[in-house]
């Protein structure tokens, strides 16, 4: 136990009260120091660093608005749609709460995608921050589950058929697929049982996991310290420090970054509120028009598209046709031949056998199954990023120019895949999304090789910072 401090009798009342609490709950005071007033963050953060705190803000918005929505929402196939309209009409300010929640869902993905992209650009996943990145990827995965299950709750046509399509993907898993899909739905079709369990997962199970992961993400971050746009360690043994051992390139998170983030919050809220008040449907991207038609199990909509934040991955799923599977077989064969040239002895046999097994598996199971694997793999591969990147410089700033081009193409393909996932399938679209899918996986899987090539710029010893 920490030592019990006594203040003189004439100390100010505020100090006495503070002292009373500090004596009884020192953990809170230590946590405030460790995570706020004495957490040293690099002083050269740029605008990309707003998105972490914004993600936290959106999480809070979602939880608080969610609490109020649950007070009025009815998780019942017969009344769910009506209860949402009841919230929109009869609950005082219900429309505002609901729009905050529906816009918040999309905003969450916007800020999280930008936050992840920031991490990729500045190598924030590199040693010693691997776990920070992995917790982050797990948050992303949990967020996808959360969004997917939440989308069923309004019980409109898109809710219903979107859930039907996604749950059917699980049915493509060999052997256990149909049982797995049945387990998820709780019925042979999406129905009341599905709605009830998705509601339960959406309001309690996944949010608990999400909160736990966010805490782990932040604790791990504060243990290893934040990266920065230069990818220079400010707390390492070689980093310059003042007489008290505080990093010279770091500043206390509070007040410097709290006040900085409040400014970011203001800018974010302007965009967020402009959407809520002037265009909550955002042209059908945030609230799909079809979802204003109550779910009808007998009427399949002409075009079922997931909400925009899933569409890059949905495109990859659709790109995985039989032709694509053959291309993947070819890719494995080429990869095997190339690596056979580079190794000797027993490894040769192992590579050859591995490649043959891979090709045999690809040809054994349905393309639909491999589509699901591709879609899942596109998310799972992110977890391995810390071990794929071998570049001598963490930050994109000190990497060769053509690395920047490659990162640029990556973003373009990601956006194009997202766009194509919204559109109805077309021949040209399928080919573009196949190229995009191959690029996406090539980008990551070949990273151990390409990330070391090129002329790197010298990384400075200290962060680059111009006083404001």
């Amino acid at each position: 136990m920490a030592t019990f401090k006594e203040l003189p009798a004439d100390a100010p009342a505020v100090a006495k009260v503070t002292n009373w609490f500090e004596n009884r709950f020192p953990t809170a005071f230590d946590a405030y120091k460790v995570h706020m007033s004495e957490y040293y963050a690099p002083k050269n953060f740029n605008a990309w660093y707003f998105f972490g705190s914004l993600a936290l803000l959106v999480l809070v918005i979602q939880i608080v608005t969610g609490i109020f929505l649950v007070m009025h929402y009815k998780p019942d196939a017969n009344t769910a749609f009506a209860s949402v309209e009841y919230i929109m009409r009869d609950v005082p300010w219900g429309w505002l709460i609901r729009y905050m929640h529906s816009t918040g869902a999309s905003a969450f993905f916007v800020v999280v995608y930008l936050h992840m992209w920031r991490g990729m650009m500045y190598g924030s996943y590199r040693k010693p921050r691997e776990l920070v990145w992995i917790f982050g990827c797990a948050i992303f995965l949990a967020l996808m589950a959360e969004a997917f299950m939440g989308y069923l709750l309004p019980w409109g046509q898109m809710s219903y058929w979107g859930a039907q399509v996604i749950v059917n993907l699980f049915a493509a898993v060999p052997f256990i697929g149909p049982d797995l899909a049945l387990l998820i739905r709780g019925d042979y079709v999406v129905g009341d049982a599905t709605l009830n369990r998705f509601f339960s997962f959406h309001v309690i199970a996944v949010p608990l996991v999400l909160l736990g992961l966010v805490v782990a993400h932040l604790l791990a971050l504060h243990d290893v310290g934040s990266n920065n746009p230069d990818g220079v360690e400010i707390k390492g043994p070689k980093a310059p420090k003042d007489a008290k051992g505080k990093p010279l390139d770091g500043i206390p998170f509070h007040p410097y970054y709290t006040v900085h983030d409040i400014f970011g919050v203001g800018m974010f809220l302007m965009v967020f509120c402009a959407i809520i008040f002037f265009g909550p449907e955002l042209g059908g991207y945030f609230l799909e028009y079809n979802n204003f038609i109550p779910a009808d199990p007998l009427k399949t909509p002409a075009h079922i598209a997931p909400v925009w934040y899933f569409t890059p991955y949905y495109s990859m799923l659709r790109a995985t046709t039989d032709v694509m599977v053959n291309v993947l077989c070819g890719v494995i064969a080429i990869a095997a031949v190339v690596s056979l040239l580079g190794v000797k002895g027993r490894a040769k046999v192992a590579i050859a056998i591995g490649a043959l097994i891979g090709i045999a598996l690809l040809k054994t199971f349905d393309a639909k199954f491999w589509g699901v694997v591709v879609m899942g793999g596109a998310v799972v591969i992110l977890f391995f990023l810390p071990w794929l990147d071998n570049a001598p410089a963490k930050s994109i700033r000190y990497r060769p120019g053509w690395h920047k081009v490659l990162y640029g193409i990556f973003v373009v393909f990601f956006v194009v895949l997202g766009y194509l996932g919204i559109q109805p399938p077309s021949d040209a679209g399928t080919i573009v999304s196949q190229v995009g899918t191959l690029f996406y996986f090539g980008f990551f899987l070949l990273m151990p090789w390409w990330s070391t090539i090129g002329t790197f710029k010298p990384v400075p010893d200290r962060v680059v910072f111009a006083a404001h």
């Binding site: 009409r89 400014f263 509120c273 008040f277 399938p425």
Partner: protein, 256 residues
């Protein structure tokens, strides 16, 4: 495998069919300013209650919400509630779905949020669709009801506003398909009034605009309040952000 190819091909074929149908007649632009005009909304409510609310319900909408468009409880009771409902009741109908299916071939959809659901990113808003739909009914003896519609071919609903609009005939011409000279396509050339209604064409357009304005408003009764509030919220946030920006600068001027 073959199933996948087949379903993909079917999907592609289906999508081109869907695209072809979306090539259908362009939607007319609904005069948006009617949604903020209380007289228009009240007229629309009257048309809605008299002509639509017999087969179609608006089961998420309460009669007394009409107070938002300037009516009093008394006016609602006197003019808009017919079957002994209370003003706080929902706008339901007693038509059974089973009868409806038998009579029209389909259950008339609930109209509460119809204007929100009928939007199409490439063609216009739901109000544009409804505004076009209600003005493009035409006589077609091949249909069981004797009516057809330009933007909703083979529609189940007969033209309920025929007394106002009168009757019109659609003129089609067979033309060579520009994509395939061997084929001809059925091209819509215009309407021809065959029987006058009680309203002139211009007055009928205004009446439909009022009705659609009402449907648009009913889809989200808070919409006008939402936009009005939004202006103040953004003004507040703009000031907040400027202060936050200067506060940030004040703190950061010490950071060297």
């Amino acid at each position: 495998m073959k199933r996948i190819i087949a379903s993909l091909l079917a999907a592609v074929a289906f999508c081109s069919a869907a695209l072809a149908s979306s090539d259908g007649p362009a939607w007319d632009k609904f005069p948006k300013e009617r949604v903020t005009n209380l007289a228009a909304l009240q007229n629309g409510a009257k048309l809605f209650v008299n002509h639509c609310l017999n087969c179609h319900a608006a089961a998420f909408m309460r009669y007394n919400r009409l107070k938002d468009i300037g009516l009093t409880d008394e006016q609602i009771k006197q003019n808009l509630v017919f079957a002994g409902e209370k003003v706080g009741d929902l706008m339901t109908v007693s038509l059974s779905p089973k009868d409806a299916k038998e009579w029209f071939g389909a259950n008339p959809p609930d109209l509460t949020v119809i204007a929100r659901s009928r939007a199409d990113g490439s063609k216009g808003s739901g109000a544009d669709y409804l505004y076009t739909y209600m003005r493009t009914f035409y006589r077609d003896t091949s249909r069981p009801t004797g009516w057809n519609n330009l933007v909703f071919p083979s529609v189940g609903m007969p033209h309920v506003l025929w007394e106002l609009q009168g009757e019109q005939r659609a003129v089609f011409a067979d033309e060579k398909d520009p994509h395939d000279p061997a084929k001809t396509v059925h091209v819509f050339k215009g309407f021809e009034q065959t029987k006058p209604g009680s309203l002139s064409k211009a007055d009928y357009d205004v009446a439909v605009a009022d009705l659609v304005a009402y449907l648009q408003w009913m889809g989200e009764p808070a919409q006008n309040q939402r936009v009005r509030m939004g202006v103040w919220v953004l003004l507040f946030l703009a000031i907040f952000t400027v202060i936050a920006w200067r506060l940030n600068a004040a703190f950061w001027k010490d950071v060297k």
